[in-house]
Symmetry: C2
Subunit: 181 residues, 2 copies
DNA sequence: GATAAACACAACATCAATGTTGCAGTACAT
DNA sequence: ATGTACTGCAACATTGATGTTGTGTTTATC
């Protein structure tokens, strides 16, 4: 039953991520129930609650890393890379709606990966700045924070908007704002 | 010692809010320790953990409501009201860094107040839209979400930026974005 | 059909958090 | 000085979450 096993494993991870997102103290029993498996089954796969969390983190980090790679942040033209990044990262944020910045604090390995990915994105924003795509009076760190905030917002407060349109909205709000002139 | 009592009470609320913000499952013991009082002292003031949470929510809602009132969202010119709102709400968000949308789910009374305040802000954004301060092709709900996201971002990721400057940054990013035309 | 893996279920021990109570000490007001 | 209000400390019972183990059952694979 390796197929079933793999299916249930990822099912637990996805369901766990969803539950943990809305309640970071969700019990293993609640996660197991939501995933439709017995509590002991979860414990057989993940020795600790901590191990389960690490697995969820890793799954999210894997997805995010793939997006960063495929966006070609250092090579592609800034507008192209930006849009590709957004269209990829928004579904990832939706599928793994964890507040990684907070939850990975106690997992040094995951936190290191997260920071490495964060640095890649920051470098991209800096490049956008250097190439004149961002206003000269804007701090790159602030621009980066704005981008993150917009992604989170469209991903979780507007789950019905599909990824391409969501990417358009974010890119537009990011670069032009919402004001009339 | 009524003065001391009041001081310790608010101290517990503020410290509790801070701890609960970074870890929503922070124990009463941890909150008491961080506030510098005994665990039983907290229990004497707040019968339940739930009661403590309600008190924290109420404190944040009170502060936010004062900001909404003083911003004169329905009367003052849009740019003035916007800036006044931002300069007021950013310190509130910093002092009570709770994710209210998530944490108030189980407190119907607090949630109703939160939604009422949310509606006031949405109405303001709608007014800004109607009066031509926002682009006509922008959905008011999206503009509203962008505003919230920017406030949270500057409040928590840039705690060193003082309120007036933070309000400037948010208003600027909100209306103009960060892109170079 | 035999085998092996994965499962649900039940039962158990353990631990951390919660909430309560009694007691002694301390600051303050009258 | 005396009563009142508050506190810290210790001890306790209770509960919910955690993690483990054993048994029987299902199911794919050989």
């Amino acid at each position: 039953m390796r197929a079933d096993a793999a299916r249930n494993l990822t099912s637990v991870l996805r369901t766990g991520a969803r539950l943990l997102a809305e309640d970071p103290s969700a019990s293993m029993a609640a996660i197991a129930a939501a995933a439709g498996v017995d509590r002991t089954t979860v414990h057989r796969r993940f020795a600790n609650r901590e191990t389960l969390l690490r697995a969820v983190f890793q799954a999210k980090l894997d997805s995010a890393e793939r997006v960063l790679d495929e966006a070609r942040l250092t090579e592609a033209p800034v507008p192209v890379a930006l849009h590709r990044y957004l269209e990829g990262i928004i579904p990832v944020s939706r599928e793994w709606p964890l507040d990684t910045r907070r939850m990975m604090q106690k997992d040094p390995e995951a936190n290191a990966r997260r920071e490495a990915q964060s640095a890649r994105l920051s470098a991209f924003v800096q490049r956008a700045c250097d190439e004149g795509y961002l206003r000269a009076d804007i701090d790159a760190a602030w621009a980066r924070a704005v981008l993150d905030a917009l992604v989170d917002s469209i991903a979780h407060r507007f789950p019905a908007v599909d990824a391409p349109q969501a990417a358009d909205l974010v890119a537009d709000a990011f670069l032009r704002g919402v004001g009339a002139v």
